[in-house]
């Protein structure tokens, strides 16, 4: 047997932080290997938003009158920012699925029985998912340009819009981690779609809440996805049909605050859930 390799000491606070970051980097590195070894999976995940873009722009788009100027007018400009926001909203399912899989396959247990920072499973996941979401957005952005959408905002406004999108996605990662730890197995994680669908759709993504029945419109107006969609429409200089409710009138503020609220609720829930794995 080879000589025992003693683990490096990590007793001081500085070295503990150093090694914790080292653990995070290792887990993120693992996710990158996944990304480049499974480009097909990556494209499948993007398949849904792409199909939705094509459906709504080319199939339903010509019948949509969101600006009051006639069916089909400016629909691409209205719907595209919505698609970006919806893709971010649905992203929590990818997180939940990955966490459920790591738990079901025993990867989480293995990591918890090792002398590493066990938070790396969650935080590493978070960093990797945010990077993943940025790549998603870039691909969708290129597709949007190809089908004739454009941002009329300045460079900084456009960049700000993408930052808002990633900000929403970042907050939803905690929802994904919490749900991924909550469900029993990967199959159950798959059925979270039933949750994601109304969350993404009952919003201003495809149609203004104004055009919905009153009670549904109110839900849609207060949906965090709507806040982000409306805020980025402003930043992109795309037509936004904002109603009178507070989140619609103050979309930028709502798009910043909502993710904070989501994080404040779901981060502690996710941490608690993770700690309870030992019960």
């Amino acid at each position: 047997m080879t000589a025992t390799l003693a683990p490096l000491p990590d007793e001081t606070l500085a070295s503990r932080i150093k090694w914790t970051l080292h653990d995070y980097r290792a887990i993120v590195g693992q996710e990158f290997v996944h990304l480049y070894r499974q480009p097909v999976n990556f494209l499948w995940q993007l398949g849904f938003p792409i199909v939705m873009v094509l459906l709504f722009v080319y199939v339903f788009g010509s019948a949509m009158d969101v600006t009051g100027q006639g069916a089909g007018v400016d629909y691409v400009a209205y719907a595209m920012p919505g698609m970006f926001a919806m893709t971010m909203a649905f992203g929590f399912m990818n997180t939940a699925w990955a966490v459920a899989e790591a738990k079901e396959k025993g990867f989480v247990d293995r990591v918890r029985s090792m002398p590493m920072a066990s938070s790396a499973v969650v935080v590493g996941r978070n960093i990797a998912d945010t990077i993943h979401a940025a790549v998603d957005l870039l691909v969708l952005f290129i597709i949007a340009i190809v089908i004739g959408w454009s941002s009329d905002g300045t460079f900084w406004e456009t960049l700000g819009a993408f930052a808002l999108l990633l900000w929403l996605r970042f907050a939803l990662i905690w929802v994904g981690v919490f749900l991924g730890l909550l469900v029993k197995n990967v199959e159950q994680a798959g059925s979270l779609f039933a949750l994601a669908f109304p969350f993404g759709m009952i919003s201003s993504v495809f149609t203004p809440p104004e055009l919905m029945p009153g009670w549904l419109g109110a839900i849609a107006a207060w949906n965090p996805v709507s806040a982000t969609a409306t805020a980025i429409r402003d930043l992109f200089g795309n037509p936004a049909v904002a109603g009178d409710s507070w989140p619609e009138a103050n979309a930028l503020a709502a798009a910043i605050i909502w993710p904070v609220v989501i994080t404040l609720i779901f981060l502690p829930l996710a941490v608690r859930r993770f700690q309870n794995l030992g019960r």
Partner: protein, 328 residues
Amino acid sequence: MTTTTVEAENLGKRYKNNTALAGFDLQATSGEVLGLLGPNGAGKTTTVRILTTLLRFDTGRATVAGFDVARDARQVRRRIGLTAQQTAVDDVLTARQNLVLFGKLFRLTKADAMRRATELLDQFGLADAADRQPKQFSGGMKRRLDLAASMILAPQVMFLDEPTTGLDPAGRREVWDAVSGLAADGTTVVLTTHYLDEADRLCDRIAVIDHGRNIVEDTPMGLKRQMGADRLEIVAAEPDDLAALRGIVERIADGDIVVDEAAASVSAPVKDPVPALTAAATALQDKQIAVADLGLRRPTLDEAFLELIGDTDKADTEKVETAKEADK
């Protein structure tokens, strides 16, 4: 030098609706293979999860590799390896990438992690498959990679939870060889299994657990001996000879005779195996009876196990009945 590496006393663990462990004790020393044997839900996995710091427990005390499991979890984690029921390797990463990743997570430097990965790939016979993904591996290969991943820091105590469940015979043999190798190098191996042949073959000592309590603890040979005497068994070549065979066995036996018509066999316990066998052979020759088989049979571990578990079930049933009586 043998040292005690696992010491658990009076472990108790309650889940919401059931008691998983009700005062379980366990000891193991370096270089020893200890088998935890018991039916489903007996508390085997719960014990492993507690000793590997994955699960908190309600009562009792446990030290592994000299450190308290509850208070010094981090120290324990540096000195143990865990191979759980599912193979916890990443199917997308190659075998080598897996071992380098786990090496890094065991907090080796990149260079050390890579060197250790190469050593382990050689040690577990995976050098040729190093750059392939585990999803292309056979069950046995995948398990060996899993074992290698828990061996990065050459642990003092290795925990294996049903390491060969779902493997084909060749895969089981591969894992057995790997486990024997670990113990020969001085690692304590604690394994749970349903397979009695596996326990018989691998374990130095077997602790039988049921309803979260110790039932018995002994060597595989000792467990079988507890089952009582060897049995003399004669299998008839012609079913018509059964009565005659019974007559022969009757004169030699030291207990109840069992005649199995379907198997055309007659068997009975004997105190002195060799004289009994000689007497049977002589009698058969004298009477000119041809037989299909004549031999001595030691009780199998399966029989020992069923006997032991059956006893506790009976005891439990009796307890329930007594309680019912008391209620009346």
